[in-house]
Every structure is written in C-alpha cells, then in structure tokens.
C-alpha cells in the first residue's frame, strides 16, 4: 500500500521553518523570579523587616541583594526578545513556583521573632571573647545583656560584676520559664545574632521577686532591679516589671 510522502522537518517541528525573533519565555520566567525576589529585598529594606532576620552587622546583604537581583531581572527581561527557539515547560513553571513560595510565606505570615520555644533548644551565648575585644566593661559600664554574658564565662567579668553587686540596671527582653523556674521567678532572655537568625544564641538572666501569674511567656517586658552574681549565675531582684514593645532591633549583635 502506498503512503503519502511526509515532510519530516515540518511534521516534527512545525514552527521551525520561518524562525523569527520572539520572546524567550524561560528567560522571562527567570526575570520574573529575580524581579519578585528583588521586590522582596527592597520591601525588607524599606520596611525595616530585615531586622527580623539579620544582624546589624550583616544588614548590608539586603540592599546588596536588592540591587543585584534588580539588575539581573531588568537585564534578563531586556534581553528576552531574541532570535531562536525557546521552550516553556511545566518543570520550569514548578521551579519558579518553588522559588516564589518563600516570598509568599514571608509576606503572608505576621512578623515574628524567635522566642522561648527556640531558646530552650539553644546553647547559651558565651561572652568570654567579647570581654577583652570590646574592653568596654569597667567599673562605670552600663550593665547590659553582654555584660552579664561576659561575667558568666569570664573570671575578670565575674569579679567586676561582683564588685558592682546591688547596682541598679534595666533590661528589655522576652519572658520565659524553664522547668526549674519557681513561680515567683522568670527568665529574661535576649537573642544574640551575628549573621542571621539561624546562628542565634540566647543570653538569659534569672529575675526574682516576680509576682506570680503576672507575666506571660514570650511577652516583651522591661525589668528594673538590682543585679547580683550568684555563683556562675546572675540574678536581678526586680523592683519593677513593665510590659514593653518589642524593640525595632529584637536581636542584639556583639
């Protein structure tokens, strides 16, 4: 039986013959992904929400990323009209969706910081190296979370805090209670972040003389009271415990 001749080239790739310039959809899709991330980084920068994720030391990453991604997106879109063939596949669309998904998560979820759930699973920040590096702790230094951390892990710091036992100090942090915390105490915690929140380590201070049932876990409070070193621990005998707004910089950086 005779069959009709088949134009093989035209049958398999019908669009091939009159190849003209067109939009490279793969590149356009990539430009869209880069653009979405550029917008996200600009949003983080302009809204100040970058402080929820990075330390002040590494905050430059966000504007740098915003610029690189913006340029990449614009450049890719500008060069997307070209001669030749390009394909747009399900796989490419799914990859784009995977790359967009974190943006959806970050923008849809309410702003949040690490709290007591994370603190209970982290090793405490060791302030030993900071003691001599900063050289800022002396007889007249303000007693801060870093001062407390240095005194817990450095003999010189412990001696200095010992000489200042009973000094008044104020601390802003979030409240938490450990299994061993009595009902008239709480633990005041602040996270130290050096690069991003993934490296957060807590500094915790025992607060005593707390009216039971007045402070909820993970609520931000300002505690004012006298500071005393007790062995390797540091306690604050609270004079006042006031609710506080979460600081603009929820994490502290050495």
């Amino acid at each position: 039986m005779k069959t009709a001749p088949v134009d093989v080239l035209r049958a398999e790739v019908p669009e091939l013959a009159p190849a003209q310039s067109g939009w490279d959809r793969t590149r356009l899709l990539g430009a869209g992904v880069l653009g979405a991330w550029a917008a996200m980084f600009w949003f983080l920068q302009l809204s100040g929400r970058l402080n929820l994720y990075l330390s002040t030391r590494t905050a430059w990453i966000v504007p740098t990323g915003a610029v690189i991604l913006s340029l990449g997106s614009v450049g890719a879109a500008a060069t997307a009209r070209r001669r030749g063939l390009a394909t747009s596949t399900r796989r490419g669309v799914v990859v784009a969706a995977i790359l967009i998904a974190p943006i959806v998560l970050m923008t849809a979820a309410p702003p949040a910081t690490l709290g007591s759930f994370s603190s209970s699973r982290k090793a405490q920040f060791s302030g030993r190296g900071l003691w001599t590096y900063w050289g800022a702790f002396d007889e007249n230094s303000e007693i801060t979370f870093f001062f407390v951390a240095a005194s817990k892990y450095w003999e010189g710091g412990a001696n200095l805090l010992g000489r200042r036992a009973g000094d008044e100090a104020s601390f802003v942090g979030f409240a938490e209670r450990w299994d061993s915390t009595p009902s008239d105490e709480l633990v005041l915690t602040r996270f130290v972040v050096t690069c991003c929140v993934a490296d957060a380590t807590p500094i915790s201070i025992r607060v005593v003389n707390v009216p039971p049932g007045t402070v909820e876990d993970d609520s931000w409070i300002e505690v004012t009271g006298q500071v005393y070193p007790v062995g390797q621990d540091v306690i604050v005998v609270a004079d006042s415990i006031e609710p506080a707004q979460a600081p603009d910089l929820p994490y502290i950086t050495p």
């Binding site: 880069l34 990449g72 890719a76 001669r83 596949t89 979820a109 050096t194 991003c196 490296d199």
Partner: protein
C-alpha cells in the same frame, strides 16, 4: 508579504489550567502561613523565622555566585582558563585554595562558580578545591573567627588552624576527585542554561550573560530552598545540648561537632560565634576547629546544592573525603596540642 511569527515552542502541558493550579497552590500556602502564624504555634513560628533568615542571608550570595559564574562563562577568555589547566597538578590545588582568599563569598556562592569553572575547562580538582576552600579561608571569615575567639588564649590557633586545615582539606578533596573528568563528576542539569537553537546572528554577549545569570540562579536557588527547609526543621527541633555529654569522649567529640556543623547549616561568616559557645560544654579547640572547617564544606543546604550540581557518587566521595580528612587532621591536632 512576509508574516512575523513568534518562534516559541510552548510545551503543550503548560496551559491555563496548569498555571491556575500553581497559583492556587501558592495562594493556599500563603493562607496557611497567615492562619497559623502570629505565634499560634511556637515551633512553626521558629521554623518560619529560621527558614526565612537562611534564605535571605544566602540568596544574595547565590545571585552573586551566578553573576561571577556568568562572567566566567561569557567574558573570561579561554586562554586565561587554559593557563590554569597548564599548571602542574600539584600546583593547581594550592593556587586554587589560595584564590579563595580573594573571594569573600559564602559557600552558597562558590558552588555555582565552581560548576561554571568546570564547565569552562578548569581542571575539576582545582575547581573543587576552590569551591571548598573559599568559604573557609577568605578574609571576612578570618576576621569573624578572630573576633569570636579573641581573649581566649587560642585566637591564633583557631584563626590559623581554620585557614590551614580548611585549605588542606579542600586540597585533599580536590586531589581525590580531580582524577575524574568533569562529565564524570557533574550532573546533567536538564536546565535551560544551554543556549536555545539559534538561527542567523548569534545572541549578544550581554544577552548570553543574562541568560546564564537566570539559568545559574534558578538552578542553584531551588536547591537552596530545599536545603533551607530541612535545615530549619532540624534547627527548630534539635536541642543543641544533645552533644553536651559527648565532649569528654575522645574522637566522638570531634565527630559530634562535625555532625552538628552539618545539620545546623550556618554561614561560614558567623559559625565561629556558635563554635565558641560550645566551650561551655567542654569541647576543646580541635573539635571546635572540626566544626569550623567541616560546616562550610558539608551541610544540609549545601548537600542539596551539591546534589543538584554533582552526580551522587561525586557527592558521596566529596562528603566522605572531607569527613575523613577533617577527622584525621583534627585528631592529629588534638594529639599535637594535648
């Protein structure tokens, strides 16, 4: 009259229904994040914050790595690449390790660059040595290690040891894997970073450059997202104190710190602060150095990126060689310093 026709082949399966499904999936994800967020579940809030911070801190470096890789692909002349290839092999690896000093970029950026270097003909051993050494030996990492350990009496040991051990282990892995050809090591990407069929005038250099940027970025970033998901889960639930009791057990203390470094997936510019905090649990300098050297070479987000870049056998050999070399060097150091 000539008619203008668009020369794009659309995959028949990418239709409106498919796109609507993808958009609906993203919308459902956003709704779930909104509904479950706001502190309603401590573990979810912790996971979201850690996952987001991992992505935000790493993605610009992936983009930077994609730009550097694209410069190598489009603008660096073959003659420059060939010069590296002409170096004697014993010299290639130290040169590649030292080159990391001038490339202050996180590990997420060095993977796409190393891949592109290999594709352009840089000997695989040199490219892999560079990929592993750059995140450990660069000046930013040295400075952060110095700050983290200053005042402990072990500053020089930690900074110098990190650089020397990092470079040595990177060269060891480069030596082992450098015997193979690039096509034996690299996975076929299946990604559209290859130029589409071109008829007539070739695309401009800038066109090719941005094509590579898009291709390399999307290629690497998807593995970063996958790795960050897993790393954030582990960080959320794993108590760091789990290693506390192991500090007194020789060898195991080093293995424990290597394992912890791999699952925490920290940036090499901040991990020294975490490593130093393990002094309180009794971990000595050699196990902390193992943490500082192994982590930037092998971790969960890197594992995903390696998996997308290299064949499984290459990833296995890379991880095994890096682990054995780190353990060996750390044990030797422990014996040497007592």
């Amino acid at each position: 009259m000539a008619t203008r026709r668009t020369a794009i082949i659309l995959d028949r399966s990418v239709n409106g229904r498919f796109l609507a499904g993808v958009v609906a999936g993203l919308a459902a994800l956003g709704f779930a994040a909104w509904a479950l967020g706001g502190g309603r579940a401590g573990w979810l809030q912790t996971w979201m914050v850690i996952f987001s911070s991992l992505i935000i801190s790493a993605l610009p470096f992936v983009a930077l790595g994609a730009v550097a890789a694209s410069i190598v692909a489009v603008f660096v002349p073959m003659s420059a690449i060939e010069r590296i290839g002409r170096l004697p092999r014993p010299l290639q690896l130290p040169v590649a390790a030292v080159a990391g000093v001038g490339f202050p970029i996180c590990e997420c950026g060095s993977v796409p660059l190393a891949r592109r270097l290999m594709l352009r003909g840089v000997p695989p051993g040199a490219a892999i040595t560079f990929m592993l050494a750059a995140p450990v030996v660069n000046p930013v990492v040295m400075a952060s290690t110095f700050v983290a350990y200053r005042g402990r009496g072990s500053t020089l040991l930690m900074v110098g040891g990190r650089v020397l051990l990092g470079a040595s282990i990177a060269m060891a892995v480069g030596w082992v894997l450098g015997r193979k050809m690039p096509e034996e090591l690299l996975r076929e990407s299946g990604e559209p970073d290859q130029a589409p069929v071109d008829f007539g005038r070739p695309e401009s250099r800038w066109g090719r450059f941005f094509g590579h940027v898009v291709g390399d970025f999307t290629f690497m970033a998807k593995y970063l997202v996958g790795g960050a998901v897993v790393a954030a889960v582990v960080q959320t639930f794993l108590p760091q104190r789990i290693v506390q009791g192991l500090s007194a057990v020789p060898v195991i203390e080093i293995v424990a710190m290597m394992g912890l470094a791999a699952i925490l997936s920290l940036c090499s510019e901040s991990d020294a602060f975490i490593a130093s905090s393990f002094s309180q649990y009794g971990f000595g300098p050699s196990s902390q150095l193992a943490f500082l050297v192994f982590g930037p070479m092998v971790d969960m987000k890197l594992g995903a990126m390696y998996g997308g870049t290299f064949k499984p056998s290459t990833v296995g050999a890379l991880v095994a060689t890096a682990a054995v070399a780190t353990l060996g060097f750390s044990l030797w150091l422990e014996l040497a310093i007592g």
